[in-house]
Subunit: 211 residues, 2 copies
């Protein structure tokens, strides 16, 4: 099994770039066009493809439509991915309202919250009491969850998710989660993202001054 997260993220980027090229009327691409569009090197493109047994035509590059089919299949985009969110505060509201996920075959099917004021069954995306998470996830066979609860609640919520069949979590709370070994957690930490930026901006400005 391939473990390189960056490589899979690049596949997503190729996919997005290919949709854009397609929309511009292109039918074929060469590895270097695609590389430019995705912001990587041509040999990275070819290497990644070779890792997944994707091949093009020497001298004629890759057929965009065919390529998209293969990438979409690798990325599990041949079926709609049902996702739930725990914690329906500010961040989750933005996620639930976001139209872009639908285009990508990602469907947030329900939110869960402990605050009764947030509950709403008649919504397009219902917000249900946290106690219903368990049954919902089991019955619908949901595999992917998003954690958007406060830091203090995240560990507990993750445990409930994993216990009831969730296999992958995107966690926005700024805390590490314990996960069973057949499960995955992807962390999105916006503070760290900004801190990181501050570090590199400072570091760059220092090196520039030396020159």
């Amino acid at each position: 099994m391939l473990k390189n997260r960056n490589c899979i993220i690049r596949l997503s980027r190729y996919k997005n770039a290919l949709y854009r090229l397609n929309a511009l009327g292109f039918v074929r691409v060469f590895s270097d066009n695609l590389a430019d569009a995705a912001g990587v090197t041509a040999s990275a493109v070819r290497k990644d493809f070779s890792l997944f047994g994707i091949s093009g035509n020497k001298k004629a590059g890759y057929q965009i439509e065919e390529l998209l089919e293969k990438l979409n299949s690798i990325l599990g985009k041949d079926k709609v991915q049902k996702v739930i969110v725990a914690g329906c505060g500010n961040l989750a509201s933005a996620l639930i309202k976001y139209k872009g996920f639908e285009k990508e075959g990602i469907k947030i099917v329900a939110g869960f919250d402990i605050d009764p004021a947030k509950h709403n069954r008649s919504n397009n995306v219902p917000v249900l009491p946290l106690e219903e998470l368990k049954g919902f996830v089991r019955n619908q066979g949901i595999k992917i969850g998003i954690i958007a609860v406060p830091e203090a609640a995240a560990g507990q919520v993750a445990e409930t998710m994993f216990k009831n069949g969730i296999k992958g979590i995107v966690n926005f709370a700024p805390i590490r989660l314990k996960a069973p070994e057949d499960c995955v957690v992807n962390y999105v930490n916006l503070e760290h993202e900004l801190e990181n930026l501050v570090y590199f901006v400072n570091a760059l400005s220092k090196t520039k001054k030396k020159i």
Copy 2:
């Protein structure tokens, strides 16, 4: 200059973990305690510290307070970082409302939008017309920006930011940005994060079945 993004992200994680340990009453840590709390290995902790010339005491570990001071200084947390946001839609609203940034010394000082309906000068965090971004950034010497505009507008907005002194951008729009070489862009792509999760969940379930 150190280029390893992961290493800097780990420093942020150490910092968070140290605050938690501090709150629990700890005064000192050993590399392995900290490693556990931050979700890394003890040798990674020591190696990272050695890279930044941070040293502890053999047999007595590290003084938490002192360590925090050093990490905070490396991460630029000794002064408040002023940040602006372009695009004040759903996502930016969540960011603007988020209380957690303040605790981390990150202050979103203004939002900018093309939609007049979003403008509001009397808010705690004012939302101003996009045309004012230029002057605002220059006058206040802002170095960090967040892009939360639609994909189609992101390139243009980034260009304006960079032209007026922004050195680092966190970009939520699902598109690569052109950046001057003394500037940095950190990408946060939530679709890709979910896609990635789907890939690894599928991959793991396949390898498990083989066993």
